[in-house]
């Protein structure tokens, strides 16, 4: 269960009480507000608040570029132009606040994106719940043999069973001992700020995370990517679905110019131009290293 009954009743109460506002309102996002989207076995993402919509991006761009832009392009076209030419500040004019419940090892990756505001549940102050991420069997993957940082085939049979057993029993024993150390029943009870050190990295934590749309797109480009670790990618994908409803024009431009886009190096660009002129290009004549050429050939589907 990813949400407590108490949290659910708070969500229900919030959703039952609309207010009147003069602010820009995004109907596609209103439907998501407060609802927790389940992610992994005990995690979730839910929208707590948002600022702005597609029109707010356009409005900010027109402050910068003046009225001339008004006639020349419709809103979606202007947003595509801004995205294509790396204009970041208009996208910073939208803001999103999420409540996320996630395993600690995912949180450690996530927090490396520094341009966001975070309030995390404090295990120094409060006691964590007994909730651990245990991968689904189809996610129990072997170390990749071609990539130091990635997964290979799914584990099978006895090995898979043994891994799951170790993860579960270690998590539970660690939590039993966490409780035992904290207990003030017939003893002093260890400080919470110390006892937490016994807990493994698959325990769940939660935070409020607030970020502007430009920096969110940067996060999503890296974390919704096929090379991102599965356990953070599923959060990114859940957020992508919300953003697509919130700012549909900006999200469509993001898909085309970022998620599905590719970077060609100077050498790569030169190779493509030559190939389009009918020239034969090989790794040797491209000036690329073997690794670069392999990536280039895969990208171009040669």
């Amino acid at each position: 269960m990813s949400i407590t009954p108490e949290q659910q009743s708070e969500i229900d109460a919030a959703r039952a009480a609309p207010s009147r506002t003069l602010r820009a309102t995004a109907p596609g996002m209103e439907q998501h507000l407060y609802k927790a989207v389940p992610v992994l076995d005990h995690g979730f993402v839910r929208v707590v608040d948002y600022m702005g919509d597609d029109a707010a991006i356009v409005q900010a761009a027109r402050v910068s570029y003046g009225q001339g832009t008004k006639k020349a392009r419709d809103d979606a076209g202007l947003i595509r132009y801004l995205m294509r030419h790396w204009h970041s500040t208009p996208f910073e004019m939208c803001e999103l606040k999420l409540h996320v419940k996630l395993p600690v090892f995912v949180a450690r990756q996530w927090i490396r994106h520094r341009t966001a505001n975070v309030n995390e549940y404090s295990a120094r102050y409060s006691i964590l719940d007994r909730e651990f991420y245990i991968p689904a069997p189809e996610q129990l993957a072997a170390q990749s043999t071609v990539n130091n940082q990635g997964r290979g085939a799914v584990l099978e049979g006895a090995e898979a069973a043994q891994v799951l057993e170790m993860l579960k029993s270690d998590a539970n024993r660690s939590y039993d001992h966490y409780e035992a150390m904290l207990s003030q029943d017939g003893q002093q009870g260890l400080a919470r700020e110390l006892a937490r050190m016994n807990l493994p990295a698959n325990i769940y934590t939660q935070w409020y995370w607030k970020v502007d749309l430009h920096n969110l797109f940067h996060f999503l480009r890296l974390r919704a990517d096929a090379h991102a670790q599965y356990e953070i990618r599923v959060y990114a994908e859940a957020i992508c679905a919300m953003v697509a409803d919130w700012v549909p024009a900006a999200y469509a431009a993001f898909e085309d110019y970022r998620l599905e886009a590719a970077q060609l190096s100077g050498r790569g660009l030169d190779a493509v131009r030559r190939m389009l002129r009918g020239e034969e290009v090989t790794q040797e004549s491209s000036g690329m290293s073997k690794g670069e050429w392999r990536e280039f050939a895969a990208l171009m589907q040669l």
Copy 2:
């Protein structure tokens, strides 16, 4: 006139069309939305959007510190506690977006606060209007004789008149030449990105400026301070009035713990403690330099 008729009709239209939202709404801020507050002779500040309210600060703090805080303190008390103990992240959960029209020399000071999002009107792309800041007579102050960075007495008589005459005629001549250089009437017309270099620092520009409440408080503490230059202080004061209506509990804590607060150095603290015990303390016995002691004595109203 600080707002164009076209801008006023946009404001009127926006204010006439409330939407329903499930988001947190701050009634005190709704009344300010879009209305331009005049500042200086042609400038203004207006709220374009906001996210969060006092309750959002409390809510974020409770994610961090758990349910224990719920019983212990009421919201205003918790907000005072957070402010007193320099907890910054809960205040980052609120966000404000302003549209500001301001002289370029004020914008240059303002932009030094880097933790904000900005979209400024581009004089590379568009043509600036003929609007210049000309100080009111009571603001035409002489250089301070005690402070390298400040103002002394107000200029009088012929000197004041001469200054105003120079400011006005130079501004107008510069703008006449700006137009002449840009003109494509019988000539090619200089590029806008070059012509703008002829304009003085008292010309007005405008921008959208978006910032979280923690960083806004930091800005206001420095710029609503008596030592800030008058021309930026009036903007800060206009924003203070809005923030007081938006997040009244947070603003009250900000006033007490920042605006009206004072920092005592280790030496200053030691001096106060000794004086409260009845000891006589002098500059020499305080360990402070003469300048520090002068500031200390003024602060303590000795």
Copy 3:
């Protein structure tokens, strides 16, 4: 052992080979370069590089304030003035790069300071060593009874022994299972990015951390404070000792105006002024809440 023989020989080699440079050099810091200062049971801090010195702070301030400052004050006096009046940008002109080995739960607190550059050892890419923080007996403290976030008396006897036993055995069992899951001996071997989730928060990680002096002082003010958790405070204290040798004038100003300083609220300032005039002030007549008055009275040693 906090450093491997391989790391020590790298340090020795680096220290044996000085170069000539035209850059500002801080003799007090040169003596620290590369040497690892042990912290906790397996951690360390070592200076990898630095930029600037006290003179660099002064030089930057003089770019801002012009030559007038040159005659008026000596360098240490100017640095004290800058610190007293919250001028932050001159301090940003110095930069420090550290290599730190620290338990994961300390790293999680540390990383909340976002204005720094970080490269952390990747447990997605590489295998962590079997090294865990186990508190020394005098650090095994009970939960504070007066503060939700703090420590009380040291645990004694059987309780202490039991806590240590649980921490050690859980750490070792988790690591045994981590190795067993990774092993490719007769099985596929779990992906490293998954196996790491079994490791507890007292395992050691390491990173390069680079920060400017202004933001470092902010970090040190919070983390070298008596209210900071002991396990991060010892790192902050080790860094303080290095900074005192690197920029002695700036560090002395930091001690007086930050570490040993105190903030008085508007109400607190008013109370002190009245008391210095001989007036009797009580909690009621001060306008402070009970909690604020208690903190105020403690600060003033009433």
Copy 4:
């Protein structure tokens, strides 16, 4: 004259006095230290300090990725890999501090890059010199007829002469009046913080600017680009030449993967793949708008 005799003698003194240091030293950068490279008519860029070299980037990457990387790749190959795959943190481990003298309208563009440390000469505190940027005749360009934000053909004959005359006479008159307003000769003298508002945007200012290599590359990619305004591009190009000597491997990777690289959108990538398979692709069948197709065709040299 871009440097005062006093500044030159400071430079000479600094260059005459090398110190011994244990820090990483970049011989290619030592030769640039302190020497001012002239830019525009009165501006300059000079290196005041630097931290790190190519090896520091590699060293930071190896902290993250462990020893495995040591055997697999040489340093330049690893740096290319990091740049290709958008690993930003290792590049953040190098830092550069510059002293720049530049026209105010260039400074206003430059400061929009927020992730840097800045100390600017304060015209509130000190008096600016009579130095203005007056474009060379070959830079006096007309407004572009195809781009709202750009230059067209060079102005000729009477128009060019008239523009130069207006720029020069307005600058001088503004400065004469600035001096007249400040003068305390027989009058009070206007406050410096007010008098500065009369100065045009082509007056020179100066600052210390400190930035890490990742953010510097971002700045250079935007500002050394052919679409950047000439007056900032010449500063970017001067910095590029220094960086190429400082971190040659990183700069070579930056050239290939950023400066000379191109971004293909999802639609663009699809079009290229189809064309490489021998398919005919037109604007209509590409899914691109006319503007996008025009940019795409120019990029691919179709």
